[in-house]
């Protein structure tokens, strides 16, 4: 059986999600939905990062009984992208939180979450 | 013409109608009717042209006669509108809003006869007589000969004759 590798699958899924998220940001009018779209986008990036760091037939970069310290270099996947993803998740959370804060404040100010309504500044 | 006169007689109490020649009629209307009449003539009868305004001093009747001479250039008709006003400071309504040049006639009448035209532009400014301080000279109680003799240094030696008697003597010496 010659299925495409999981890494391509997840990479493809990541790209699809990325586009979906972007589409959501552009298309949705409700700020909460935009934020959700952003989360999708964010997640898709994590997926992409993980998938590009994946090496076939290797295991998670956790050095324990299963993977010895000496042959870790040949048995585990690249740990760096996963580390990056961890950081990215943290940052993503931070940004999402900030976005939600803004959403709350915007709603308090104007009583609506339609992004079209916040056009007082232009040109 | 006849219809016009009829209309004027009927509407404006015209009297004393006097046809001088073809297309020239003089008549008299009472003072209050003058302005409506002139207005009517200008607006509806085609009398666009004010030829002149003048005054006559009927000192015997103690009244001034004011004559407006109007012309209709289309039908070539002239209308002389006469009216009478009192001599003692009674004014007349100004028609300078119908014809701008009427103001000049009125100014002259004010100066020469002392007839007031309230509202007429510059009516109190001197026209011919700069600095005149006597009674208006065209009023018949003003003795122009006496005034001239007093004022203008008559050259002595001038003989003066009454034209009527002098010419009679000259032309018909035998009569």
């Amino acid at each position: 059986m010659n299925l495409p590798g999981i890494e391509y699958l997840s990479l493809g899924l990541g790209i699809v999600l990325f586009l979906a998220g972007l589409w959501g940001i552009i298309h949705q009018k409700n700020i909460i939905k935009i934020i959700i779209s952003f989360s999708v986008l964010d997640t898709s990036i994590h997926l992409i990062l993980v998938s590009i760091g994946y090496m076939r037939n290797r295991t998670a970069p956790i050095i324990d009984s299963a993977v010895s310290k000496t042959d870790a270099a040949s048995q585990v996947v690249d740990p760096l992208p996963q580390a990056l993803v961890l950081t990215a998740i943290v940052i993503g959370v931070g940004i999402t939180a900030l976005m939600l804060t803004y959403a709350l404040k915007l709603f308090n100010e104007k009583g609506t979450l339609e992004i079209d309504k916040f056009k007082s500044l232009k040109w | 013409m006849e219809q016009l006169l009829d209309r004027i007689i009927a509407g404006f109490e015209a009297a004393d109608i006097e046809k001088r020649k073809d297309g020239q009629v003089f008549f008299t209307v009472p003072k209050p009717k003058v302005l409506p009449l002139i207005n009517h003539l200008k607006m509806f009868e085609g009398f666009r042209n004010l030829i002149l305004m003048t005054a006559v001093d009927w000192i015997e009747d103690n009244q001034f006669q004011i004559t407006y001479l109007l012309n209709n250039p289309d039908t070539k008709t002239d209308l002389g509108i006469r009216t009478f006003i009192g001599r003692d400071g009674e004014g007349m309504d100004s028609i300078h809003e119908l014809w701008g040049h009427a103001a000049t006639f009125q100014r002259e009448m004010k100066e020469m006869f002392g007839i007031g035209f309230p509202g007429s532009p510059r009516v109190d400014e001197p026209f011919l007589l700069e600095g005149w301080d006597d009674i208006p000279p065209m009023r018949r109680e003003f003795d122009t000969k006496k005034y001239s003799e007093e004022t203008y240094f008559p050259r002595p030696g001038r003989e003066t004759h009454d034209p009527a008697t002098y010419m009679k003597q000259k032309l018909y010496p035998n009569d």
Binding site: I91, I95, I115, F118, S120 | -
Partner: protein, 1042 residues
């Protein structure tokens, strides 16, 4: 040196520690925050000083104890030291600026502030790309948090749009980083650059994603609507941070990452940068909101810096200097301007006149504006000069054109703004906020700007170091501005005299320069003399007057193109401020500045095309430009804007007429000669004799003739005395241009004679009329009349002036006319010559109108008691009259040496004008000024005696004793025949002065405004459309690249 990692430690630590403070401890927290910011400043400045003057190796911090790629490393090299120093400077002073705000906002804001600056520092220092991403994000979050200090829906919605946009951009960046890692296996920037020889297919996409994201971070036009909203709505103190701080860091990111893309991406950056520079500045034209305008300007300036980075291959070793010049000007000015915006408290640019209440603020504002546009002595001037020179050296002509175009657009809105601040009517109820915590940062940045100017000047290759004496003196005048006028005026006059004395030996042998130096210096002293009559202290006048004169003398003194251009810009700057001082000068000064700026940019372009990157920038380079045709044409048009040739003249009448009484002669009699001098320099370089038969000269000859005709004809129909004189200047400069275009010995003599004469009589006339205007308080000639009885001395001055102007023998104007005829016939330009002659006869009409309407005719009631013009006006006038008399009687004193000079081999070797005692001979005719004067003088005296004898008992009568057809005149006003005096002439020839030029420039103006107005509609205010812009931008760039 302190390890730079402590910057992070201190800022982060302070941030955490501050979290412990409660609301009550806010005062302490603020001080602590300030101290925390002082520390990185200390560190980075220390590093910067460490790197200055020595080639030390960059200091690298390895975290986690290993070397890359297994760890993150920070680098502190000269670039990083300088940029972090700048950023921390901003952080420190920005903190002071926000000091009061923090009190109401609480500790959390301070923490955000510290985190922001930690982020910015790391962004600059880090060499790890993922780390870069992280800190970009941190800085963004902190910044967006800070935006929230401004309450209200505007700031909120703007912040949200910013947030969304930045998130999308950083997502793309992150994807790119991921792929880069995937393909290259390293996250270390240096490591990546080392192995990017093995570029693979996918890698280029990865690099594309990273770089395009960075470019978008830099707010590339037109995908930058999200940033503009924040600039506009955020607290000005925060906007300053965005504009100066994050932009700086992002720029350095681009600089660090750009090598990824190789040569291709350098070009892309250049294109993107320039498109941003031009586009953003063009849209700025239509903008009226101060903060948003600053936003546009910021975007534009950053675009220019991006372009500079993109040009780094072309610029080579000059890159750092150029970048420094442009960057530091932008950095200091933009932060300063945002701060000023907070102090002015006005959104609308026309309301910035409120700054006038604090002259210091106005001064700082002016400095920032001039530095943004690139006027000397500010660093951007040096940067722009070198940039343009280097680009032309590499043949990047189109880029130069774009840069200059963008600068022009920038000038359009910045000078409108400056003009409003100086001149627009002021709302009395408002005052700028001048709290100490706001004054300190703005003042500090202004001082830093001066310091940076000094640094640029001191370290600029080829800068004219000798010329700093005038600049110091101008600075000194600023400092003593509070002193009484008498002292300042005396000092100024003495300084001009001293400078002339000092200059004389060096130009002694160069008669041409001597003549112009004489015009500038003597004229300067004489016109300044009139200033004694002013009341009050006249604040701000002398520094700028002297700046103008310093520029003018600098022109003469300059021996290289840089010095020339430096002086040219200095003169423009000074004269602009002088002109705008007039009561109704707002619009006119603006016009003047725009034309001057345009002219200066053309000159710069022309110089660039002349030099084209060669190291030699001496004036003699003009003789052999790299691109002769274009260089000459551009230089000529540039100078013609100053001489107000027809078509480019529309600024002149208003500017000269509405200026103050003693400024008009300065700008008309003297300043215009700068353009003439420029033409002289240019034409001389084009070579004499047959070599000078450039087709351009033929065109310029016609232009000169038409200018003479047009200027004089327009002067005839003026009712405003000073406007009449101003148009007359247009005409006279037309003569001068015409004469110089001959490129013959005698033509040049004509031109120089005209120049001297124009200086003499126009200064004289403007002084005299200025004195009259000062007394009667109106410019309208028909309101004056009969003033000869009140102002006999002024009358004599005007009489001499117009006789000279009209070229009537025996006064010196005739010298010019005589030479002119000889030149025309020798050259064979008959039709043009006849046209100019026609213009000369037209001059009679306005000469007569001037003297008759003002001094003769009927005296008006209102002016029965006016006094003679102040003696301080009269004295210089009579000095000028003596000058005219000497020049008339003994023209050979001046003309002989000039002739000798012109007959040098380099110029016009033939010497057609010979002198025999006092008589001048050409092969056509002859003329003897002295004999003419003698004969006419003797005859005049005899005839006057005869008439005096015959009518000695004449009864003196008064104004209404005229025959009036038996009537008496009504009033003097109805009897004075003056208004629309030449109505029949207008009927006959008025069609010639249909204001074509005005309409044309209005059309240009309207077109660009309309364009900007409609183009900026893309910034619809909708956050989502901004995202679409970003996405579309990426797609378009990608398509273009592939």
């Amino acid at each position: 040196m302190v390890n730079p990692v402590f910057i992070i430690v201190v800022l982060l630590g302070a941030g955490f520690l501050l979290g412990l403070f409660r609301k009550t401890g806010i005062s302490l927290a603020r001080v602590a925050g300030l101290l925390a910011l002082a520390f990185p400043l200390y560190v980075s400045v220390g590093w910067m000083l460490h790197f200055i003057g020595q080639t030390a190796q960059p200091y690298v911090v390895y975290t986690a104890g290993t070397v890359p790629p297994f760890s993150i490393n920070l680098r502190m090299g000269p670039d990083e030291a300088f940029l972090t120093a700048a950023i921390n400077m901003l952080g420190f002073f920005g903190f002071i600026y926000l000091f009061r705000l923090f009190k109401s906002q609480g500790v959390s804001t301070i923490i955000l502030y510290l985190v922001l600056f930690m982020g910015l520092n790391v962004i600059v220092m880090t060499r790890d790309i993922f780390n870069l991403f992280v800190f970009l994000e941190i800085a963004s979050i902190a910044l967006i948090g800070l935006v929230l200090v401004n309450k209200g829906i505007d700031a909120l919605s703007a912040g949200f749009k910013y947030l969304i946009a930045v998130s999308v951009i950083s997502s793309i960046l992150l994807v790119g980083i991921g792929f880069i890692y995937y393909y290259s296996g390293t996250l270390n920037i240096d490591g990546f650059i080392e192995n990017n020889s093995l570029v693979m297919k996918g890698l280029s996409t990865a690099v594309f994603l990273v770089l395009v994201a960075v470019v978008l971070e830099l707010k590339a036009f037109p995908a930058n609507g999200w940033a503009l909203d924040v600039y506009q709505s955020a607290h000005p103190g925060i906007s300053a941070l965005i504009s100066a701080g994050t932009a700086t860091a992002s720029l350095f990111v681009l600089y660090k990452l750009l090598p990824f893309g190789g040569h291709l991406w350098l070009q892309v950056a250049a294109v993107i940068g320039l498109v941003t520079f031009v586009g953003s500045n063009m849209l700025g034209i239509a903008q009226k909101n101060a903060n948003r305008l600053l936003g546009y300007s910021s975007v534009g300036q950053i675009g220019l810096l991006v372009a500079v980075i993109g040009f780094s291959d072309d610029l080579g070793s000059h890159l750092r200097m150029i970048f420094f010049g442009l960057f530091i000007s932008h950095f200091l000015s933009k932060a300063g301007l945002f701060w000023l915006s907070g102090m002015a408290g006005e959104e609308e640019i026309s309301k910035w006149s409120v700054l006038r209440k604090k002259p210091a603020l106005l001064l700082i504002f002016g400095m920032f504006v001039f530095s943004l546009i690139g006027f000397p002595p500010f660093p951007s001037f040096y940067g722009k000069w070198q940039l343009v020179m280097d680009l032309s050296g590499n043949g990047q002509i189109l880029w130069i054109a774009l840069i200059l175009l963008g600068t022009m657009f920038e000038g359009v809105y910045l000078f409108r703004w400056l003009g409003f601040a100086i001149k627009h009517e002021v709302d009395e109820s408002k005052a700028p906020d001048t709290a100490a915590e706001k004054m300190i940062p703005a003042g500090a940045f202004a001082l830093l700007l001066l310091g940076a100017s000094w640094v640029s000047n001191a370290y600029f290759p080829g800068a004219m170091k000798t010329s700093f004496l005038p600049l110091y003196f101008i600075l000194f005048l600023f400092l003593i501005d509070f002193l009484p006028l008498v002292i300042k005026n005396t000092l100024s006059i003495l300084s001009l005299g001293y400078y002339g004395w000092r200059l004389y030996p060096s130009i002694q042998d160069d008669t041409l320069r001597l003549v112009f130096a004489g015009i500038f210096l003597i004229g300067g002293m004489l016109t300044l003399f009139a200033g004694y009559s002013e009341k009050g202290k006249r604040p701000g006048f002398y520094p700028f007057a002297l700046m103008m004169y310093a520029g003018l003398i600098g022109l003469v003194e300059a021996d290289n193109l840089f010095g020339f251009f430096f002086a040219w810009e200095l003169m423009t700057m000074g004269s602009y401020i002088l002109i705008i001082r007039g009561k109704k000068s707002l619009v006119h000064a603006y016009n003047y500045m725009l034309f001057s700026l345009g002219g200066a940019l053309l000159i710069l372009f022309g110089i660039a095309l002349t030099v084209a990157g060669q190291p030699d920038i001496s004036l003699s380079m003009l003789a052999s430009p790299a691109y002769p045709g274009w260089a000459y044409a551009l230089l000529a048009v540039g100078f013609l804007t100053k001489t107000a040739a027809l078509g480019l003249h529309i600024w002149l009448p208003g500017a000269h007429a509405e200026a103050e009484s003693d400024v008009s002669p300065m700008v008309s009699g003297i300043l215009l000669k700068a353009g003439a001098f420029g033409l002289v320099i240019l034409f001389l370089a084009m070579g004499g004799g047959e070599a000078g038969r450039h087709p351009l000269l033929y065109a310029l000859g016609w232009l000169g003739a038409l200018t003479a005709l047009g200027g004089n004809l327009m002067a005839v129909f003026q009712e405003d005395a000073k406007r009449l004189l101003a148009y007359s200047s247009v005409g006279n400069l037309g003569y001068i241009l015409f004469a110089f275009s001959f490129m013959t010995h005698i033509g040049w003599l004509t031109g120089l004679t005209y120049s001297i004469n124009h200086f003499l009589f126009k200064t004289l006339l403007f002084l005299a009329i200025g004195g009259v205007v000062m007394r009667v308080k109106t410019h309208n000639m028909y309101e004056m009349g009969g003033l000869i009885k009140r102002m006999p001395w002024s009358f004599i001055a005007v009489l001499v002036g117009i006789i000279t102007l009209a070229g009537i023998p025996p006064l010196s104007g005739f010298a010019g006319k005589w030479l002119f005829y000889n030149a025309v016939i020798a050259k064979g330009w008959f039709l043009q010559g006849a046209l100019v002659f026609f213009a000369g006869t037209i001059a009679f009409l306005y000469c007569f109108k001037l003297i008759y309407s003002v001094f003769l005719g009927q005296e008006k009631d209102r002016f029965r008691k006016v006094k003679e013009a102040p003696v301080w006006y009269i004295i210089p006038q009579f000095i000028l009259i003596v000058g005219i008399m000497i020049f008339s009687a003994r023209p050979e004193i001046v003309l002989k040496p000039i002739g000798a000079l012109l007959s040098q081999a380099a110029f016009f070797p033939s010497e057609p004008l010979a002198w025999e005692n006092v008589t001048a001979y050409t092969n056509l005719g002859y003329w003897s000024g002295f004999n003419i004067m003698l004969v006419i003088g003797a005859m005049f005296v005899v005839l006057l005696g005869w008439l005096l004898l015959m009518s000695r008992k004449a009864q003196k009568v008064k104004q209404f004793n005229i025959v009036y057809a038996g009537e008496a005149p009504f009033t003097p006003e109805t009897t004075h025949f003056s208004h629309n005096m030449f109505a029949p002439y207008n009927k006959a020839l008025g069609f010639l002065i249909h204001p074509v030029a005005t309409q044309f420039w209005l059309g240009v103006n309207n077109t660009f405004h309309a364009l900007a107005e409609s183009a900026r509609k893309i910034y619809s205010g909708n956050g989502q459309s901004y995202i679409i812009h970003i996405v579309a931008y990426i797609v378009v760039v990608y398509l273009i690249l592939s």
